[in-house]
């Protein structure tokens, strides 16, 4: 673990992982998308609109996952002063915001035929919107200081404080009687037809590996930016 705290070693490891992740992502997409969009059976209730699920659900899961990474990275940055952890957190934010936006968008597209309205102020939908705003707030705050160090620390604190929203999103369907579907996974097992599980998991795999690729790129950019800044400092300009 400690080895990864060194930016250069982290980048080297990233260099090795990145092509694999990218390849896996492309394979998952190539296999998963056709199954999801064409070959999987339509739902007996929802018909073809169910295909939105293969984007919507992975996007929802990923947006929660990204926030988790962001919160964990921020914590280890604040506690153990690991700059790389913070870089991971900051690189996760835009991806997470994108997934949250995608989840909201597909949810609204799905809601139109299913509920007759794209939006209701229901607990899950609201809390997801809150998550989206939290991402925006985190990114805005991080860039709002003259000294980047200040932005890093302020953003990290916000990420930690905002993490209380995660359980609310996750359990909102159970706590309130929501229009929204309850969880696929529960104590009782998986409540989804097996023919839908394969494409769903392929899409999850694609999104996950996409995330890895983008975060590695983000961390690399930040390491290089920091190096440029250090070089500038040395010149005293």
């Amino acid at each position: 673990m400690h080895a990864l705290a060194n930016p250069n070693r982290f980048l080297k490891l990233g260099d090795r992982i990145q092509p694999w992740a990218l390849g896996l992502c492309l394979i998952c997409l190539a296999v998963g998308l056709p199954i999801a969009l064409a070959f999987s059976p339509p739902d007996y209730q929802q018909g073809d609109t169910v295909r939105i699920m293969y984007i919507h659900v992975p996007a929802a899961w990923m947006s929660l996952f990204c926030y988790g990474v962001m919160a964990a990275g921020s914590a280890s940055f604040l506690i153990w002063r690991q700059p790389v952890a913070n870089m991971m957190a900051r690189a996760s934010a835009p991806v997470g915001a994108m997934f949250a936006g995608l989840c909201l968008l597909t949810g609204m597209l799905w809601g139109e035929p299913m509920w007759g309205t794209p939006w209701v102020w229901d607990a899950r939908l609201t809390s997801m919107l809150v998550l989206f705003f939290l991402y925006l707030g985190y990114m805005a705050l991080g860039d709002a200081f003259d000294r980047p160090e200040q932005g890093d620390k302020a953003g990290a604190i916000l990420a930690l404080v905002g993490s209380v929203n995660l359980p609310i999103i996750k359990f909102s369907v159970d706590w309130w009687n929501s229009l929204h579907q309850p969880s696929i996974f529960s104590m009782a097992g998986i409540s989804l037809d097996s023919s839908m599980i394969l494409p769903l998991f392929l899409m999850v795999g694609a999104f996950q590996t996409f995330y890895i690729v983008v975060v590695l790129m983000g961390v690399r950019t930040q390491v290089l930016t920091a190096k440029v800044r250090a070089a500038r400092l040395m010149r005293g300009t």
Partner: protein, 216 residues
């Protein structure tokens, strides 16, 4: 006075560097101040005097180098910056009473401070009707609430007339005589013996190389 009941006060600064807004302000700055010393921090505008004093006061973290303050706790410290930290809505006495509670100063400190800084005429006036010099003095009166050995002062003479400059000088030299430490930045020359001068110009960092590990 300070050494009798506690540890000797001391400030040790080694190879300090600070950067602000991507610009290295100073680097390689070292000095040591012992009990009974007055350190003058000199240098032109923007050379980093205030930045250094804020580092010494613990308001910011150094970007490189180390900084030891004895005693390390804040109750051994009084800082006075460019701004007075007085609340305009409150009277001089209310302001000083507040700070005396914050500093956990013994009963009667406020009266003593008002007396020593010749503030009795204005003690029940709200701070916003005071003239600039009176206000400054009211801000400095915080210094002698309680008994902190280390005083860090950023341009304390601002707005003071001659009599009051020597009043402050008197208070500062008394503090030094009692075994305290005074670190002050000013563009005027103080009216008492300073044991050393830290000239910020010496530590200017323009076009100087700085090792990688210092920044990381």
């Amino acid at each position: 006075m300070f050494s009798s009941d506690r540890q000797e006060p001391k400030v040790i600064v080694t190879d300090l560097a600070a950067q602000r807004g991507g610009r290295l302000i100073f680097r390689g700055l070292s000095f040591t101040a012992e009990a009974g010393e007055a350190v003058m921090v000199a240098g032109p505008n923007g050379s980093g005097k205030s930045t250094l004093l804020r580092l010494l006061a613990g308001l910011a973290q150094p970007d490189a180098g180390s900084l030891t303050r004895l005693p390390p706790e804040n109750d051994g410290l009084r800082f006075a910056g460019h701004r007075d930290g007085l609340k305009s809505g409150l009277t001089v006495e209310e302001n000083l009473s507040f700070w005396s509670a914050i500093y956990d100063a013994p009963e009667g400190s406020v009266v003593k401070a008002i007396d020593r800084f010749a503030l009795s005429r204005v003690s029940d006036m709200p701070v916003d009707v005071l003239s600039a010099g009176w206000r400054r003095r009211a801000g400095l009166a915080r210094l002698i609430l309680g008994s902190a050995p280390l005083w860090i002062l950023d341009e304390p003479y601002t707005a003071l007339d001659k009599d009051n400059v020597s009043r402050i000088d008197g208070i500062l030299s008394e503090h030094i005589a009692n075994g305290g430490i005074v670190i002050l930045a000013t563009h005027q020359s103080p009216g008492f013996e300073t044991s050393q001068t830290v000239d910020m110009a010496t530590y200017e960092a323009t076009y100087q190389a700085l090792a990688d590990e210092v920044l990381w």
